[in-house]
């Protein structure tokens, strides 16, 4: 504490140096004058008195110097001098400065970028008051561990819980908004009246919904701040006005605060963030059965202060147990699951984020080792200078400061440069993060990241100073000063230490190299995998056939049939169809079904339900295995049929024999007419869920995806496709126009991890190559005379080349050997991102060392070549 205060005092004294000098001078002059006046009073003449005063008190000049010295004394004396000397020293060896500073800057840059991701996605608290008390609540069974809650569970929980301050429901259901004479599909979420209070928010304008509005067909809504601004010109008079929504008049009752963020979720919910345009009441007034059986509403709750999530889970499970005793068929075997909101938002991406962060930390560690190695080389090169300083009485702390100040200067330069690099590369980062990554909007280059970059660089450079500085203080000055250039013995310990550091560096790089190779192999295997459909050249868009225009199933079916015909007749279209969903889009709608003659014992089988028309098979490029796909002849008035996937056929109908069998689902016997190949929920999933398709004509859905396969660029088809929709229904908005390829690519978070790992591995191996280069160049420099002598005595240049290169390669081999153990062990921790390869994957164990060796060779060649080119007539003349 005192040291710190003195430091600041000194700093202030340094800044006000000139003024303080003036003051001291005046003070000393005053002293001298008083002394002279006293002498005069004793009777001396004026001239004699001044002489007497000088004798007694000394001269102003002399005293001033000692005052100045005293002002600068203390633990931080000469810090500026040190830094100035460090700057000069660095300027004198630009190759060291460039190598060390550049390597540091590159590592700082990648780490800053990674930090922006980790900070934005994981560390930054969610934007609600006391976010740690917010939880997601699920119904949890063996089959569905994170099932949305039923409405009855919500109501019972709200009434009977002892651990919550509130619980609310939300579920996505987009609306079509008419404004400026244009129909637009808007992301909309239906919420209960307690949704905003649970999150701790209130509308910026107007009011929240009321409990009495939680009924189907209540036509009131709240606008997001963004919607209010961009669609209604931020008109404060909007409250109470009617707008046209789903072709009916709705009343605007409120506007959300600016930047209000939705809590997100995997199922029937937009992602976490400012992602919702409209909010409307959730209709709880469903038929009694539906209130228990339907699971389409997500729950978010706020636990009481000081209540752990586990206690809340126990409390809410008690309520589910009670429900199970009253309605065993709905709630048997179910319990409540309570998950902190932050955890739920992060979801599966947490593993990716932490993997990337770990890779970043590894790079920083390598940069630190690298800088350490370079610093050691420098202190050894400056042995004589430092030994003289030591002999002249420079204490340990003083000597350490020489190294420290140089590295600090490098750290500062590296940090600033790294920050600049990070800023330049930031736009690139945004393009490689998968679009559905949680909290992507939070990934920003902020001052926190800048602070991180600088402290990262400084910490690295200080850490890298410790060993070289400590070593320096242990050097015997006698030895150091007596050393001439030709003698290399004294540096041997340092060389050994540096060699160990570089081997360590290569070992650390090999961890990243392993990771990168494994991920490359995974994505190759994934690409070769049969995904059950072909994403190339397909355009998709989404339509919502909302009530009341499409109130009857017949009207929806009629529209679908007409649109399919319209799309198929567009130029360049090979196939077109309408379906409820496209692969890898997170569709997760399930139903129970029955097999004729199955006993009533045990759980009834469950499968994913979807619907599609005749054109969908060809449009998505799905593979028909047995029987047939649905055809035009499957109409509402013909035999009810379904097409199942292989997984369902295998699990319940004995595979190929499924065709012709009957599935009892949604109250009807439906004949299985065909079996199609499995399509997994996500590209890397081990297996597909049992799934089946209704013909859209027999079971019409209001929420549709159009899929159009074209010969050319799918996105070029967007405009004619829109026109085809408008021709049938002028007021029906077309939404989510995308190419299936883009959607498929976005489904693969592995891509991001892959990109990062590749970039990091390249950087790490580059750093190692620099390390190898550094130590060899240094060795060659130290041994110029020896090598010259050898050449003069007849060693061939090839021999010199070989010997030098071998020194480098030995280090590489050592590091790689360590990496062979470390790499797979570390890859084991990232198993979740691997697909089809084990951490002990043979080809990887072969490929990674080869790549590493190539980098080592790259670092070796320069110095080895230089050594073999040495001219003995020159080197032998040097002293």
């Amino acid at each position: 504490m005192r040291v710190l205060r003195e430091f600041f005092w000194q700093l202030a004294a340094l800044v006000r140096r000139r003024r303080l000098d003036g003051e001291s001078k005046a003070e000393l002059q005053f002293h001298l004058d008083m002394e002279a006046a006293a002498a005069k009073r004793r009777g001396l003449p004026a001239g004699e008195a001044r002489r007497e005063a000088r004798l007694r008190a000394g001269t102003v000049q002399e005293a001033l110097e000692r005052v100045r010295d005293e002002r600068g004394a203390g633990p931080f004396d000469g810090t500026l001098t040190d830094l100035r000397q460090a700057a000069v020293a660095l300027r004198r060896s630009p190759s060291f400065a460039l190598l060390a500073g550049g390597a540091l800057a590159a590592s700082v840059a990648v780490n800053t970028l990674i930090f922006t991701v980790v900070y934005g996605v994981v560390l930054r608290p969610l934007p609600y008051p006391e976010p740690e008390r917010l939880v997601r609540v699920f119904e949890s069974t063996q089959r569905q561990p994170r099932f949305p809650v039923s409405i009855l569970q919500y109501e019972e929980t709200r009434r009977e819980n002892r651990t919550l301050d509130g619980i609310a429901l939300y579920t996505r259901g987009d609306l079509q908004l008419m404004h400026d004479n244009r129909a637009e599909r808007m992301t909309a979420v239906a919420i209960t009246e307690d949704f905003l209070p649970v999150l701790g928010a209130t509308p910026a304008l107007g009011r929240n919904f009321t409990a009495s509005e939680m009924k189907r067909g209540t036509r009131v809504l709240m606008l997001s701040h963004e919607t209010w601004k961009t669609r209604f010109g931020a008109d404060r008079g909007i409250i109470g006005r009617t707008v046209r929504v789903n072709r009916q008049p709705w009343t605007v009752v409120g506007v959300m605060p600016a930047g209000f963020e939705h809590v997100g979720g995997d199922y029937r919910s937009p992602a976490q963030g400012d992602t919702v345009a409209l909010w409307y009441p959730l209709g709880l007034d469903l038929p009694e059965q539906a209130r228990r059986y339907w699971h389409f509403t997500n729950a978010v709750a706020r636990v009481k202060r000081g209540t752990p999530a586990a206690a809340a889970e126990g409390d809410l499970t008690r309520i589910v147990d009670d429900l199970a005793s009253r309605y065993p068929d709905s709630y048997r075997g179910a319990r409540a699951r309570v998950e902190p909101l932050a955890e739920a938002v992060l979801g599966r991406s947490g593993a990716t984020v932490w993997l990337v962060a770990a890779a970043g930390a590894l790079v920083m560690l390598i940069a630190c080792v690298n800088l350490m190695g370079l610093s050691i080389a420098r202190t050894v090169a400056r042995r004589r200078e430092l030994s003289v300083r030591q002999a002249l009485g420079g204490g340990a702390w003083r000597l350490m400061r020489v190294v420290l100040s140089e590295n600090l200067l490098l750290g500062l330069a590296g940090g600033v440069l790294g920050l600049a690099l990070a800023a330049a590369a930031f736009p690139l980062l945004r393009t490689v993060i998968p679009a559905e990554f949680p909290r992507l909007h939070e990934v920003r280059l902020t001052w926190v990241a800048a602070l991180f970059a600088l402290s990262c660089a400084m910490a690295t450079s200080v850490a890298a100073s410790v060993i070289p500085a400590l070593r320096q203080t242990r050097v015997d000055p006698k030895e150091g000063m007596g050393e001439t250039r030709a003698v290399t013995g004294g540096g041997r310990g340092a060389v050994r230490l540096r060699s160990a550091l570089i081997a360590a560096e290569i070992a650390l790089s090999s961890v990243l190299c392993f990771g990168a190779v494994l991920l490359v192999r995974s994505s190759q295997l994934l690409e070769e995998r049969d995904h059950g459909f072909s994403p190339g050249g397909v355009l998709t868009f989404q339509l919502e056939l909302t009530a009341p225009a499409y109130n009857s199933p017949e009207s929806a079916a009629r529209f679908a049939a007409e649109l399919a015909r319209g799309l198929q007749s567009l130029p360049k279209v090979k196939a077109a169809g309408l379906t409820t969903n496209v692969p890898w889009s997170g569709w997760d709608e399930n139903t129970t079904f029955d097999l004729p003659g199955r006993g009533m014992t045990g759980e009834s089988p469950e499968a994913r339900f979807q619907a599609a028309d005749a054109g969908t098979l060809a449009a998505l490029g799905m593979r028909l295995r047995h029987g047939r796909w649905m055809e035009e002849r499957d109409q509402a008035n013909t035999t009810p049929v379904v097409v199942v996937n292989e997984s369902l056929a295998r699990s319940y109908y004995g595979g190929a024999d499924a065709v012709g069998k009957v599935m009892q689902v949604w109250g009807k016997d439906r004949t299985i007419v065909g079996v199609v190949a499995d399509i997994r929920d996500r590209p890397a999933d081990a297996a597909a869920k049992a799934a089946f398709w209704y013909p859209l004509a027999q079971v019409p859905f209001g929420s549709l995806k159009a899929v159009i396969r074209t010969e050319g660029d799918p996105l070029a088809l967007a405009a004619p496709a829109r026109a085809a929709v408008a021709e049938i229904d002028r007021e029906l908005p077309v939404a989510e126009v995308r190419s299936l390829d883009d959607m498929a690519a976005a489904a693969s978070e592995r891509r991001f991890a892959l990109w990062v790992c590749e970039a990091f591995a390249a950087l790490a191996m580059g750093l190692s190559a620099v390390g190898v280069y550094g130590i060899l160049a240094y060795l060659v420099e130290q041994r110029r005379r020896e090598i010259g002598l050898r050449i003069a005595l007849g060693a061939t240049r090839g021999h010199v080349l070989r010997v030098t290169a071998l020194t480098g390669l030995r280090l590489g081999a050592l590091g790689i050997a360590a990496g062979l153990v470390l790499g797979p062990a570390a890859a084991g921790m990232a198993r979740g991102l691997l697909f089809g390869v084990s951490p002990w994957d043979g080809p990887t164990l072969l490929a990674a060392p080869v790549i590493l060796l190539l980098f080592t060779v790259a670092g070796t060649l320069g110095p080895a070549w230089a050594a073999s080119r040495l001219d003995p007539t020159e080197t032998l003349r040097e002293s």
Partner: protein, 112 residues
């Protein structure tokens, strides 16, 4: 001329200055030096090169505070005043000095 620095035990100068300020209240450097000389019966003469670095040291440690004021002869001079920390330091050092002096006295007079 006596060379006062040689006869000063290390650390005693700071103690003397603190004691002088405690006894006299805020004073400028000349008075401090003059009073120390007077009280020591001329045994200790401080020249500026000794006194003023000590003042800087005491100021840096927060034991004294300096302020420009006018003297009774209407000249501007830098006056030093004891701070609370300085007062505390003085009592600590005083006690320490007396303890040491007592020990030494016993040792020098005692029978071994």
């Amino acid at each position: 001329m006596t060379n006062e620095t040689a006869s000063l035990l290390p650390g005693t100068l700071d103690l003397m200055v603190l004691q002088a300020l405690a006894a006299l209240g805020p004073q400028h450097g000349y008075t401090i030096a003059a009073r120390i000389e007077q009280v020591s019966n001329g045994a200790i003469q401080l020249n500026m090169g000794t006194l003023y670095p000590a003042m800087v040291r005491l100021e840096r440690r927060g034991f004294v505070k300096a302020k420009w004021q006018t003297t009774e002869t209407n000249r501007r001079a830098r006056f030093y005043a004891l701070t609370e920390a300085g007062r505390k330091q003085l009592s600590i050092e005083k006690a320490e000095w007396q303890r040491m002096a007592g020990i030494l006295e016993r040792m020098l007079a005692g029978n071994w």
